[in-house]
């Protein structure tokens, strides 16, 4: 078993929480993990990414080689596209559809949407809206993780345990709401058809 995941977003959006949940689930399965993070300057509203590798064999490189990622999970539609050179030919893209517009030249919606048309292995969903509808406006990242969960090679119940582990400190309510967000993300059929 071997899954290479690119997590993408804009500094401050919360990609590291997704990484932490997957990491915790992978540890429960006794898998090897390597995960890069971005600290420092880029955290201030710049593009950020994390390479997350899980495997039942020892992992050599901390960075995922080009053309080898099984999945790109992105909290922002333009950011998913930035890491396309890492994606395998048959890889999946799971992205939030809500743009984070903090640059003056952000492309128009139909311009970036067009880029998604050539992919069949894609899930584009408004994770933020789904989370808001659940009454959990800050759990968009967990909704997205739920949507990506069938492609990670990790048991869903272990991801749930990961949620308990990572959000446990914040209280039972936060755990419950995120477990729900994970479930809804997995079951949602609210994918945008692009």
């Amino acid at each position: 078993m071997e899954t290479d995941i690119i997590l993408a977003g804009v500094g401050g959006q919360g990609i590291l929480s997704i990484a932490a949940v997957i990491g915790s689930a992978a540890l429960e399965e006794n898998l090897f993990i390597k995960q890069t993070e971005v600290h420092g300057m880029s955290q201030r509203g710049g593009d950020v990414q994390s390479h997350l590798r899980i495997s039942d064999q020892a992992i050599a490189s901390d960075l995922i080689p080009l053309g080898r990622a099984d999945i790109i999970i992105s909290l922002e539609p333009l950011e998913a596209l930035r890491y396309l050179p890492y994606l395998k030919k048959e890889g999946w893209i799971v992205t939030n559809s809500k743009p984070f517009e903090n640059i003056p030249n952000y492309p128009k919606t139909d311009q970036w949407m067009k880029e998604y048309r050539r992919f069949s292995h894609k899930i584009v969903l408004n994770a933020e809206q789904i989370a808001k509808d659940l009454g959990a406006p800050r759990s968009g990242n967990v909704v997205l993780l739920g949507a990506a969960s069938p492609y990670l090679g990790i048991d869903f119940s272990h991801l749930e345990n990961g949620i308990r582990q990572i959000f446990g400190k914040k209280g039972e309510n936060i755990v419950e709401i995120n477990l729900k967000a994970l479930q809804v993300g997995r079951e949602t059929e609210n994918y945008l058809s692009i």
Binding site: V38, H39, P65, L81, N105
Partner: protein, 540 residues
């Protein structure tokens, strides 16, 4: 079985604690910050009374670490690569005196300049000072080499330079920890004065001792389990066939090499994680191979040594002959290309993807400072704004485009003075509070002594912001420091940088530009990130 998911930085911190650390002395700098932060938040560190408060700069940090080592205790000093430039005076001379309690100096280098102004490779410093360098290839080795490093440092009587790069610092992996050791008691060596008083007579003796030690350092490298010659029998036999290519892989480059040979190496490989370079193994590799490829993250340090300046001897490939790019961090893909293997990319980045540079946070006080400053200096066509290292460096980017320089910690004030001396008017410096106490205060004294015509804006957010909000050394005391240095009290002006105060800010800036001497304006408002964090913590 006690495997935890650690950042490289955290593995280093935990290993130091487990090895009996008594004090960590550092100044924040990406990618080294998380080492000291981890120790600050560690329960065991608290129980053991491990000193971990941030220092004013890397030089004060390293010297304080030396004091602790002098008193027999194990100590750690962590900095980013350019931080070692600041601490270089201490660093070079600690190699002369030697140490007592084990000392490890972590240099976190930043090839590709993710969050830095250059990509210098501090292995050069280690060789310059002639002390051993450790360069782990993964997080487990980072843990083990720190844990064992303290024993080595005390056995040798010298500090170890522990060199990591961004990907090691900021990547997580499972790490097996070891048992917690006791801390050293306080003790001073009998011959301490002859070591630590580096008068010429003593220094000459100490240098001879250091030179003599080189043999021991080399022997340790040649027998280190972290340096491994793979794919060659131990001894040369006449009938052994020569390989075409031998590979030297330093630090994390070894992982990138492994990534490209999942079924095992096809060439002889020398993995290097400890310096001085293991001569015996290098000889063995060179005599068994026709050509050598050197993989190292950073400068071509090893490659240059093997090749020699004129390149007349060995056939060596790497960053110098274009087999690998001369700049930028190493990646598995660059290594793959260097090995002559194909990198398959299925999708390119679409044109629609625009750059998304970092920016000052919405609501940040630095924004208000630049808004007001930009308005005023429209009135002065020759105005130059010298800036510094910190979040406010982002004032270089749109929409502000407000600054003309960013060189090194503290250079805003001193450059402003030099430019003013040369005739630039108005000559303005913009520096943060933490950078000011790191390296700006001495420059301000130069300005005062020369009565230079400069305006210095100390944009005070009461924290070290860019690295994530660490304590700033002089929160609440910037005005008194400036006055103490000799700036006239009437020309140390304080203001809260908020939109409602724009008119007042603008008139203060105008007045102080027009004042023909040293003036300091301190716009002070807490960083919105640390402010938000504090509110969150009090809610808990």
């Amino acid at each position: 079985m006690n495997k935890q998911l650690f950042l490289g930085d955290e593995a280093i911190a935990q290993a130091a604690i487990d090895a009996g650390l008594s004090g960590v002395y550092s100044y924040p700098g990406t990618p080294s910050t998380e080492i000291t932060e981890y120790i600050q938040h560690s329960k065991i560190a608290k129980e053991r009374g491990i000193h971990s408060q941030w220092c004013c700069n890397e030089k004060t940090a390293l010297e304080t670490a030396l004091g602790m080592s002098y008193a027999g205790k194990r100590t750690l000093s962590c900095m980013k690569h350019v931080g070692l430039n600041v601490a270089a005076d201490a660093f070079m001379n600690i190699a002369m005196s030697g140490i007592h309690g084990g000392m490890i100096i972590v240099s976190a280098d930043d090839p590709s300049m993710h969050s830095s102004q250059n990509e210098q490779d501090n292995r050069v410093y280690g060789q310059f000072a002639m002390i051993p360098i450790f360069e782990p290839s993964n997080q487990q080795e980072a843990y083990d080499m720190i844990y064992e490093g303290y024993e080595w440092s005390e056995k040798w009587g010298y500090p170890i330079l522990f060199r990591i790069t961004t990907r090691m610092a900021h990547s997580r992996a499972g790490v097996q920890t070891r048992e917690l050791k006791a801390q050293n008691p306080c003790s001073v060596e009998e011959n301490a004065r002859s070591k630590y008083v580096l008068l010429p007579a003593n220094a000459r003796k100490q240098f001879k001792i250091l030179l003599e030690k080189q043999k021991e350092f080399l022997q340790a490298s040649e027998t280190s389990k972290y340096n491994q010659l793979l794919g060659l029998p131990d001894e040369t036999t006449d009938c052994a066939p020569r390989s075409r290519l031998g590979i030297v892989a330093c630090g994390i480059a070894f992982n990138y090499l492994q990534e490209n040979f999942p079924e095992g190496f096809e060439n002889p490989v020398l993995k290097i994680s400890q310096y001085p370079l293991p001569k015996k193994q290098l000889f063995r590799l060179v005599e068994s191979c026709e050509e050598i490829l050197v993989l190292e993250d950073g400068f071509p340090v090893v490659e240059e040594q093997l090749k020699g300046y004129l390149g007349l001897g060995l056939k060596v490939h790497g960053r110098l002959d274009g087999t690998l790019p001369r700049d930028g961090e190493l990646t598995p893909d660059k290594v793959r290309k260097a090995l002559g293997k194909e990198v398959e990319v299925y999708y390119s980045i679409p044109d629609v993807v625009e750059m998304r540079p970092p920016a000052l946070c919405a609501g940040c006080g630095h924004r208000d400072v630049y808004e007001a400053l930009n308005e005023v200096i429209k009135e002065y066509k020759d105005a130059k704004v010298f800036s510094d290292i910190g979040c406010y460096t982002l004032g270089a980017l749109p929409p502000f485009q407000a600054i003309d320089s960013c060189i090194d910690m503290g250079a805003s004030i001193t450059m402003a003075k030099g430019a003013s001396d040369a005739g630039i008017f108005p000559s303005i410096a913009v520096i943060g509070d933490s950078t000011f106490t790191h390296s700006g205060m001495t420059g301000l004294l130069d300005c005062v002594n020369a009565d230079a015509n400069v305006l210095i804006i100390i944009s005070d957010n009461e924290t070290t912001g860019m690295t994530g909000g660490q304590d700033s050394a002089a929160t609440g005391r910037i005005r008194s420091i400036c006055q103490g240095i000799g700036v006239h009290p009437d020309h140390v002006r304080e203001i809260v940088p908020l939109k409602k105060n724009y008119e007042e800010m603008k008139s203060i800036i105008r007045e102080e530009i027009e004042y023909p001497g040293v003036s300091v304006i301190v716009p002070c408002r807490e960083c919105i990130q640390t402010h938000a964090r504090k509110i969150k913590e009090t809610k808990k």
